[in-house]
Amino acid sequence: MKTLFRGGRLIDPAAGRDEAVDVLVEDSLVAAVGDGVDGAGAEILDCDGLVVAPGLVDLHAHLREPGLEHKETVETGARAAAAGGFTAICAMPNTEPVADTTGVIMEVRARAEKAGLCDVLPAAAITRGLDGESLVEMGELADIGVRLFTDDHRSVQSSRVMRLALEYAKAFEVVICQHAQDDDLSEGWQMHEGQYSALLGLTGAPREAEEVTVARDLLLARLTGGRLHLTHLSSLGSVDAVRHARAAGTRVTADVTPHHLSLADEDLIEYDTNKKMNPPLRTPEDRSALQQGLAEGALDAVATDHAPHAVEEKEQEFDRSPPGTTGLETALAVVLTHVVEPGAMGLTRAVEVLSTAPARILGLEEHGGPVQPGRAANLTVFDPAAEWVVGERPFHSRGRNNAFLGLSLRGRVLHTMLRGEPTVRDGEPTR
């Protein structure tokens, strides 16, 4: 089976390439990249005006299965991912039961393979049952290929446990991923502590609730030499801390979500639960610092923190609603509309932070490019100018809780290809 992507703009940060070329895929591999590639016998997709890029990679998605299938399943999450241009996503372990044993990891993988829509890499918890105290069997989990360990929304509070996790992980070269948040400083929080929390009468979590944990973990990474990843950073102080630690040689990577790059605490003025986030949306100054940090390389990647919830869970009083927004189907468009279009970041860097960089963090050889002959054909094709309104077409995710519902975004995924198999064609999933 041959497919020719003709005349698209290939943005391939791993190869340092940004030019209009043809890309020929044969079976599961890229067969040719260049001008005037012979398309004899191939299905030809006209990509004039479109961007061809390595498939997007997400470091942080909640697929909810097993146990919380009323919010999402591996299959629906993978379909949403493909629709959003992703070819690989890292599934968070806060399921029921928690992904803290090889059994749960294998089960999630099996379901993803059956769906065949997107590579799903289950992350494992750092501690058993997310208890913050007892380390999981990291060696066995690493042996079956788990690359990233995180207690996610349960930030590891104990400095001792965090130190030991970073230290022990060195034996397997796996990543310890932290949602940085000091529980004491953020007790009862509903949003960012500031002008708007004071106005809305909602309990705030200050930036410092994140920053003290970021600072501690950077010191522990320095102490141990362990591989730290800080996920969904939200505050300007965190960006500065990562920048300085990295300049001093600490092994750390970091990501930021599309919603922290585009929204702010002021957007909560009508108590919209779809904009309640963990960590909370902070101020426009934080948002600018996050955009700048991402553009300059202090932050490595964009991660969706795709957090689907049932309608009845979100349609509640603000303080009863769970935090989070879906993100897989809107991530690319939000980054293009709110970061690239205003000029904070170039299109090449956008592809890098959504594909190449997260693929490297997860150690995924097949993803993130380079798009070259002989390499796995994991690709996405999008129209950077196409405008659409979020929610006007049904979501593929089970979650309807999208923070951008009703808003207009630019950038639409048309084709996604996983190892040569089309998972999305003309904007619709193929299965």
Binding site: G201, Q316, E317
Partner: protein, 310 residues
């Protein structure tokens, strides 16, 4: 005309004056032998109270009844809510029953906003979490106006747990909107650091503020806050911020003493101070009925109320 009263930030100075003037005309109704006018005959007002409340619920109930509306009191204990019914389903039920106005008290900030998504009825915020208590602020304004001709330049201190107080949020905003100078007084742990952006001054000591005040407004301080260590002991709080007889001596003679109730006598206000003639706590209660009558009347477009009046 505002459809819902969710926050005092919706109200212009003209709208506030209009409400207070309308309340004036209803104040007299409460002094009659037959305390009733037919203005809202045939309309249904639902009191939807998710939190225990005595004065606000009764005040709204009396206000609606004195306007001849039918009043339904829906408290959460012993109702479908205690069986786990969501706010949405309760709202849809009230909607289906044809409520014209829903007065909501809820422990969650923003719950009245959420309610408006599901009902056609006018929603009146009777206190939501630590957000706002608009009718309290308006009745306080009404009470102050009975003693001072203008709010312009009036010096008001709001003393106590501003951080957790919906009364302070609504009061500060509406007072500054009307031209008063508000000082928020309390320990730094109980004053939001961003309160300066509300147009109020901030003081962490009560004594220096007292001599220039026109109104000294004391907030209820929950003992729970001491357990959470917002202040070390109730004793220290009362010593630094309690309105004692001595402190009343430092107030100008004309100054009013107010409290939204319920009071902690001996904590934020000494018992003998609460019973002084210049302490207007019971006046506030009486005026609350008239102000709530005015709001229901204007918002529901009662007989004789002009369209576009609010």
């Amino acid at each position: 005309m505002i459809k819902h009263l969710l926050s005092v930030t919706q109200l212009s100075p003209e709208a506030v004056t209009r409400i207070l003037d309308t309340a004036d005309s209803f104040r007299e109704v409460g002094t009659r032998v037959i305390k009733k006018v037919p203005a809202l005959r045939g309309r249904t007002v639902v009191n939807l109270f998710y939190e225990p409340s005595t004065r606000t619920r009764i005040s709204f109930e009396l206000a609606a009844k004195r306007l001849s509306a039918d009043v339904i009191n829906f408290t959460t204990s012993g109702s479908s809510v205690s069986k786990g019914e969501s706010l949405k389903d309760t709202a849809l039920t009230l909607q289906a029953m044809g409520a014209d106005a829903i007065v909501i008290r809820h422990s969650s900030s923003g719950a009245p906003y959420t309610l408006t998504r599901w009902v056609d009825a006018s929603v009146l915020n009777a206190g939501d979490g630590t957000h706002e208590h608009p009718t309290q602020a308006l009745l306080d304004l009404y009470t102050i106006r009975e003693h001072f001709p203008s709010f312009e330049g009036l010096r008001v201190a709001i003393v106590g747990d501003v951080l957790h107080s919906r009364v302070a949020r609504s009061g500060t905003h509406v007072l500054t909107t009307m031209g008063a100078q508000v000082t928020l007084v309390g320990p730094p742990t109980l004053i939001p650091s961003e309160a300066a952006s509300w147009g109020a001054a901030i003081s962490h000591e009560l004594d220096p503020v007292l001599p220039k005040l026109d109104v000294c407004y004391m907030l209820r301080v929950q003992r729970e806050r001491q357990r959470q260590q917002y202040f070390p002991t109730v004793r220290e709080y009362a010593m630094r911020f309690g309105l004692t007889r001595d402190r009343v001596g430092a107030l100008p003679e004309r100054a009013l003493i107010m409290h939204p109730g319920p009071m902690n006598r001996g904590v934020e206000i000494a018992s003998d101070v609460a019973d002084l003639p210049q302490a207007l706590i019971t006046d506030q209660v009486t005026n609350g009925i008239a102000v709530r009558m005015a709001l229901l009347y204007l918002m529901l477009g009662g007989e004789g109320a002009q369209e576009g009046t609010l």
